[in-house]
């Protein structure tokens, strides 16, 4: 699909590539510098989770055009251990203990929409979208 590009996350340098991809797309869509920095921070957090806890996975950046709105969607997919208690990782304070899913509530706050799907043993899918205002 033309509107979507992906970066495989295997080592720490791939986090930088994912950020770069996200920043380029964000700039192209017309996001300001503050939102660019928020989007890249969200990408960093998601990619770090993959790198540290899932081993490998990928970050895809998708341009969104929906009923006149323009947006950017980060899609994070891994086949790692998964999260058994999603409610718990979405609670603030959990991130301070580190571990899988750390920082997800923060990512949710940086973006406008957030969706997570995870099954233990199967992996985790996360989609986070920011709309251009």
């Amino acid at each position: 699909m033309d509107n979507q590009s992906c970066v495989k996350i295997i080592n720490e340098w791939d986090i930088v590539s994912a950020r770069q991809l996200g920043r380029n797309v964000a700039k192209e869509l017309g996001f300001g510098t503050v939102d660019q920095a928020r989007i890249t921070t969200a990408i960093s957090e998601l990619a770090r989770n993959i790198f540290l806890y899932a081993g490998q996975g990928q970050i895809c950046i998708e341009k969104m055009y929906e009923s006149g709105k323009v947006g950017l969607r980060i899609i994070s997919i891994d086949k790692g251990p998964g999260i058994s208690d999603i409610r718990q990782v979405m609670e603030d304070g959990y991130s301070t203990s580190g571990g899988l899913g750390a920082g997800l509530p923060g990512v949710k706050r940086l973006m406008d929409e957030f969706m997570i799907d995870s099954n233990p043993g199967e992996g985790t899918d996360i989609q986070a979208t920011k709309w251009l205002r």
């Binding site: 300001g32 510098t33 503050v34 920095a37 603030d92 991130s95």
Partner: protein
């Protein structure tokens, strides 16, 4: 959105006025501005961005490309701070909720464990129990029976706060279910010991002193399960002595047997019972000495039993700089002259 627009012009004002004269006035206004911005949850990265854009606008020629780009680094760093700041905001909100919940729980506990200091002919009784935090792990309970004798239980659950309070509710329930006619101190403790032994965590235990004051014979019979020893005040000699009591904590060994002790109480004399929150009171210099406690009790002897316990608590609270390390319970039974 309105605030954001006015925020921009307000910040521009501050910036230009300061750049003109470098006045303290402008800096003070900036501090007030930040309070306003914080109230409206403006994250730090937005402030950096605002600053950068105003600089470009105010100094289109002198604000070089390098200077502008340097702000990208600052912005990126501030997003990190903003990330933490928003989490902090949310945690503050959660903490507020928890506090409210604890306050409600403390009220429920008050109702559940509530006991009234009984009025008994020929006796003057005072009691105070103050939790170190919201919930009390200390417990005391009075029961006055038809023969005008008074039973009293004072107990302390290990630790404090919510876990201790939950455990206390279990003790209260177990005490209520003991058969009416079998309330000798040793029987009470042996029964409770079995309940605690079966129901609590490995490292959990409870201390308790249970006694019955017979108002006809003025004899206080009691038994202790590892509880802080009580004191006896002899009014004619003006002297304190420890009430002897040996017995293992509740919840260690289900076969534990307790021994009953008796003390005859003379007119004007007092039985003083307490939790270890009293003897373990700590100040900057160290533990409060037993002598300090005794002299405090003596200082207020002229008051009613309730007056004594309240004033002793007040003084110990002050000595500890108003920070209780442990739940505090003090009870006085005085035989009237």
């Amino acid at each position: 959105m309105d605030f954001r627009r006015s925020m921009e012009s307000k910040y521009r004002e501050l910036l230009t006025s300061y750049l003109k004269g470098g006045s303290e006035q402008a800096l003070y206004q900036s501090q007030k501005f930040s309070r306003n911005a914080l109230e409206r949850n403006i994250p730090p990265e937005e402030m950096v961005s605002l600053h950068k854009n105003l600089m470009i606008e105010l100094f289109p020629d002198d604000f070089t490309a390098e200077m502008q780009e340097s702000f990208d680094i600052l912005l990126e760093v501030m997003v990190g701070y903003g990330f933490a700041y928003r989490e902090h905001q949310n945690l503050k909100h959660i903490q507020q909720e928890l506090r409210t919940e604890m306050e409600i729980a403390a009220n429920v506990q008050q109702t559940l464990l509530g006991t009234e200091v009984p009025c008994v002919d020929g006796m003057d009784i005072g009691a105070i129990s103050v939790p170190a935090k919201h919930m009390n792990g200390d417990y005391f309970h009075f029961v006055k029976d038809e023969n005008n004798s008074v039973s009293i239980a004072i107990a302390d659950v290990i630790g404090k706060g919510l876990p201790a309070a939950l455990c206390m509710s279990m003790i209260k329930y177990a005490m209520d279910s003991l058969p009416e006619n079998r309330k000798s101190p040793t029987v009470v403790l042996e029964n409770l010991n079995r309940v605690v032994e079966q129901n609590v965590d490995l490292t959990m235990f409870i201390t308790m002193l249970y006694g019955t004051y017979n108002t006809a014979s003025h004899c206080f019979s009691y038994a202790s399960a590892g509880h802080e020893p009580g004191l006896y005040y002899d009014a004619t000699q003006d002297e304190f002595s420890e009430l002897p009591a040996k017995g293992l904590l509740l919840g260690i060994d289900k076969k534990t047997k307790y021994r009953e002790y008796e003390k005859e109480v003379m007119p004007g004399d007092m039985i003083i019972l307490m939790s270890d929150g009293v003897t373990e009171s700590r100040t900057e210099e160290g533990f409060i000495e037993r002598e300090t406690l005794l002299s405090l009790i003596k200082k207020y002897l002229h008051l009613s039993a309730q007056g004594v316990v309240q004033n002793v608590y007040k003084e110990l609270e002050k000595l500890q700089d108003f920070q209780l390390r442990d739940d505090f319970t003090l009870i006085i039974l005085r035989r009237k002259v």
